[in-house]
Amino acid sequence: MSSSTTATTGEVTGGSAAPAGRGREPRGPGLMAGPVGRNLGLVVALVILCVVGLITAGDRFADVDNVLTILRGASIVGVVSIGMTFVIIGGGIDLSVGAIAALSSVWATTLATQQLAEDVHWIVMVVTALVVGAVAGLVNGVVIAYGKLAAFIATLAMLTAARGLAEILANRRTQIVRDSDFLDFFSGDVLGVPTLVIIFALVSVAGWVLLNRTTFGRRTFAVGGNAEAARLAGIRVQRHTVKLYVLSGITCGIAAVMIMGRTTTGSSTHGTLWELEAIAAVVIGGTLLIGGRGTIVGTVLGVIIFFTLGNVFTLNDLSSSAQAVARGIIIVAAVLLQQRLATGSFTFRRPGDGGSPTGAAVAQGSPAGAVSGGTSDPGGPGGARPGLPPT
């Protein structure tokens, strides 16, 4: 049947050609609507940030070691952000990344694991961390996809549960990594580039390929963009959702190994607030919190911008509190800017649902649609309510 497909259809359409309908309006998107344009905006932001750094801190900022410090800092959260990007494009959210990383780091540094690692190879610790992350992600995914829990709730529960389990395992103590080969490997560098940065780069490239060149990536966009349409197109949406959270869990495991290398410890306090940093990086990177759109490049730039900002502040002896305020402003500014630049492709106002006035909106004197669009959450370009995506 496949071979005859083209020939026959060609005849038929040739015979019944009629004028096409309306709807030939030009493509609406704004100036920087495409992924490339959005990322260009991020590059510009990063350049501006670097100029500010150069002006205020001069050589101390431009120093190679300083640049490596920024990248080393960014790399661990960066790996987590890659996993987070997949989850968010797929229409979900993962609040448990920091806690899963903590649990992985503790599990990989228990006496038993380290003993086994001593007998076999330090790779045992790495594998342990990855498996723990993957299993925690699997639990998240199953609860969300098959238990029909909101991702926000399910991963919030995992956040507290995983950290609690980590505390129980570690008995609230910090566990020292004894394997010196492990430490040498992860604190070392290759041709001057720290191993951590290389890992981040590898994970980013792998993430990019997975998102843009595989069926998995394509399905992720479809599931996040319109889950019902994806389901009716034959995609097994629940199964795919599970895979997304497993993927996120694995990146948490990788991040756990990295933080073990950097701090030489496994601890239940590792990874505090990573979820916020990762979500912030993803959002700054232009990924829609409602799912269906996003880029790995954007996320990488988002992470680097986030950590460069911190570095500039530190070099200028500004308090970490001021830094926190600035980060908050940056998140809002980044999203606002992207919305402005990308009007058209970002406004998800379809005929039909765009102007349906709820009585509340009417009565409160706000124009239709402004109720959802005006939520204070920074991550909601397009006016959708972020945070609680349908599963």
Partner: protein
């Protein structure tokens, strides 16, 4: 009815036009409503009723046309503007805040207050008065709205409209969530309102109900008024249905194949399929190369049948076989793997990834074919999609274009291209020409027939009876969730189908309303 004759029009809408990207939702709608009448608005899904009431509510701005309110031309620039004139709308999905009390909801945004402190007692007393006026004193103003029944919630919505001193209340399918007794009480409220000169625009699919409560009828079809000011009681039901479903233009249907495909084994076999609350014991089979149509009115269960066959809904009982192999119920992935494709009724929300490009929308069901070890061969993926775009004549022929910018007809072609690329053997089409303009319809018809000629088994559902009759080889008439007749398409005509539908509906025991009982109240 004669009592309404003397009133000057309260509202006149003339030549209202509203376009959305790719769709002309309203294309010249006329409507005039008199004070104190119940004016019924009829039309199939997609005829433009919802858009029209949103224009009336100030939520959509029309692109053309005139609106006159009490003799003066007005612009309904915002919901507030409409409301301040005295136009209130009660939406189908009630727009109440379920966590607030009845009184809070009624006065939302206009809470009686002194120095910013709300005065609950005043609000409760006022709410109580309104609800009593509506004949529902049993609804407590302090009750949480979420705890109320659908009927009671509707009364709260209505009380809100009254509290705003509405002169015209639009009710969008108010009876959809009510049982018979509640509908009777709703009607009593509506009669009360009209007695005090409030006008009601009443939307419903239930024709019997309209006959009972309505004074005049306006029928919309394809975004335009096809009849207005019909007297409710003198217009035969069949005429109303014909106005709603009849063809406005003679469409060109492709010729049927000369020989009937009776020699081949059925490709799709549906046996005793039931879905609780929707349809029961539906059986039919489709041979390769055959087009089977399901005809019936909205709400008869046609779409549900298709979606259940496809596995998008889990059947209560019954089996679906494709090529002799039984499908697992409720498993879309399995159905697609077996070669079944569905072009669903709501293209935008159920089929398309609107923000994605055309080629991605086409290839989404066939990704595995272009993948090696999970990696997509994007070159061949795009080429295959381009080929479909060319052969189906999707315009513009640009596979990188965002699918949302295409017209309805071209979007539908994209959905068909998806299943063509998948090489599906069974194609289920739900309202294949909904929102598709006239020119593109014949193309879609030709395409469907061509698919059948290539051996695909096709099932078509449509609200437009002529479409089903023109396109299908065999027609199943569905009424109230049951197949009431099965005939060759050329042995049927529209009137015969309507007769069958009405007979079927009567047999299924839909309550025949006690029209006479209330006649006196209105006239």
């Amino acid at each position: 009815m004669s009592s309404t004759q003397g009133h000057a029009p309260l509202l006149e809408m003339h030549g209202i036009v509203k376009t959305f990207p790719g769709v002309r939702a309203l294309d010249g709608v006329d409507l005039d409503v008199r004070a104190g009448e119940v004016h019924c608005l009829l039309g199939q899904n997609g005829a433009g009723k919802s858009t029209l009431i949103k224009v009336l509510a100030g939520a959509h701005q029309p692109d053309g046309g005139r609106i006159t309110w009490r003799g003066e031309e007005v612009t309904l620039g915002s919901p507030q503007a409409a409301m301040s004139l005295g136009i209130a709308t009660i939406y189908q999905e009630l727009d109440l805040v379920s966590g607030l009390t009845v009184a809070d909801n009624i006065f939302l945004g206009r809470e009686p207050a002194r120095f910013g402190i709300t005065r609950a007692a005043v609000a409760n007393a006022a709410a109580s008065r309104l609800l009593t006026r509506l004949g529902h004193p049993e609804i407590r103003p302090t009750a949480e709205v979420g705890s109320l029944s659908a009927a009671a919630q509707q009364m709260v919505s209505m009380a809100r409209a009254l509290s705003q001193d509405a002169r015209l209340i639009v009710m969008d399918e108010p009876s959809a969530v009510l049982d018979n007794e509640e509908v009777e009480r709703l009607f009593a409220v509506v009669r009360d309102l009209t007695a005090s000169d409030v006008a009601v625009v009443y939307i419903s699919h239930r024709l019997e109900e309209i006959r009972q409560i309505g004074d005049r009828i306006t029928v919309l079809k394809d975004g335009a008024t096809v009849a207005t000011g019909l007297p409710t009681r003198e217009t035969p039901t069949r005429e109303v249905i014909t106005l709603m479903t009849g063809r406005a233009i003679e469409y060109v249907f492709p010729e049927r194949r000369a020989r009937a495909a009776s020699d081949q084994a059925p490709l799709l076999e549906v046996q005793g399929l039931s879905l609780r609350g929707s349809f029961s014991d539906v059986s039919f089979s489709v041979r390769p190369g055959e087009i089977v149509g399901l005809a019936g009115l909205v709400g008869a269960g046609r779409s549900e049948i298709l979606e259940t066959v496809f596995g998008a809904r889990r059947a209560t009982t019954g089996t679906v076989r494709v090529g002799g192999k039984r499908l697992r119920t409720g498993d879309v992935g399995g159905a697609v793997a077996a070669g079944v494709g569905l072009a669903p009724e709501e293209r935008k929300s159920q089929a398309l990834l609107l923000g994605d490009s055309v080629y991605r929308n086409i290839s989404i069901s066939s990704l595995a074919r272009f993948a090696r070890g999970g990696f997509l061969a994007r070159g061949s993926e795009r080429a295959a999609a381009s080929e479909q775009v060319r052969s189906l004549d999707v315009r513009p022929a640009d596979v990188d274009r965002e699918v949302r910018t295409l017209s309805g007809g071209n979007q539908q072609k994209v959905v068909l291209a998806r299943w063509l690329l998948r090489e599906c053997r069974v194609l289920l089409l739900d309202e294949p020409t909904r929102g598709v303009d006239v020119g593109a319809r014949s193309e879609i018809y030709a395409l469907v027939r061509d698919l059948a000629d290539r051996g695909v088994a096709v099932v078509v559902v449509s609200s437009e009876i002529p479409e089903v009759l023109g396109l299908a080889d065999r027609v199943l008439v569905v009424a109230d969730g049951a197949v009431v007749a099965e005939e060759r398409a050329d042995a049927l005509d529209e009137h015969r189908v309507l007769d069958l539908v009405m007979e079927g509906t009567a047999h299924q025991g839909v309550p025949v309303p006690a029209t006479t009982q209330h006649e006196g109240d209105v006239a």
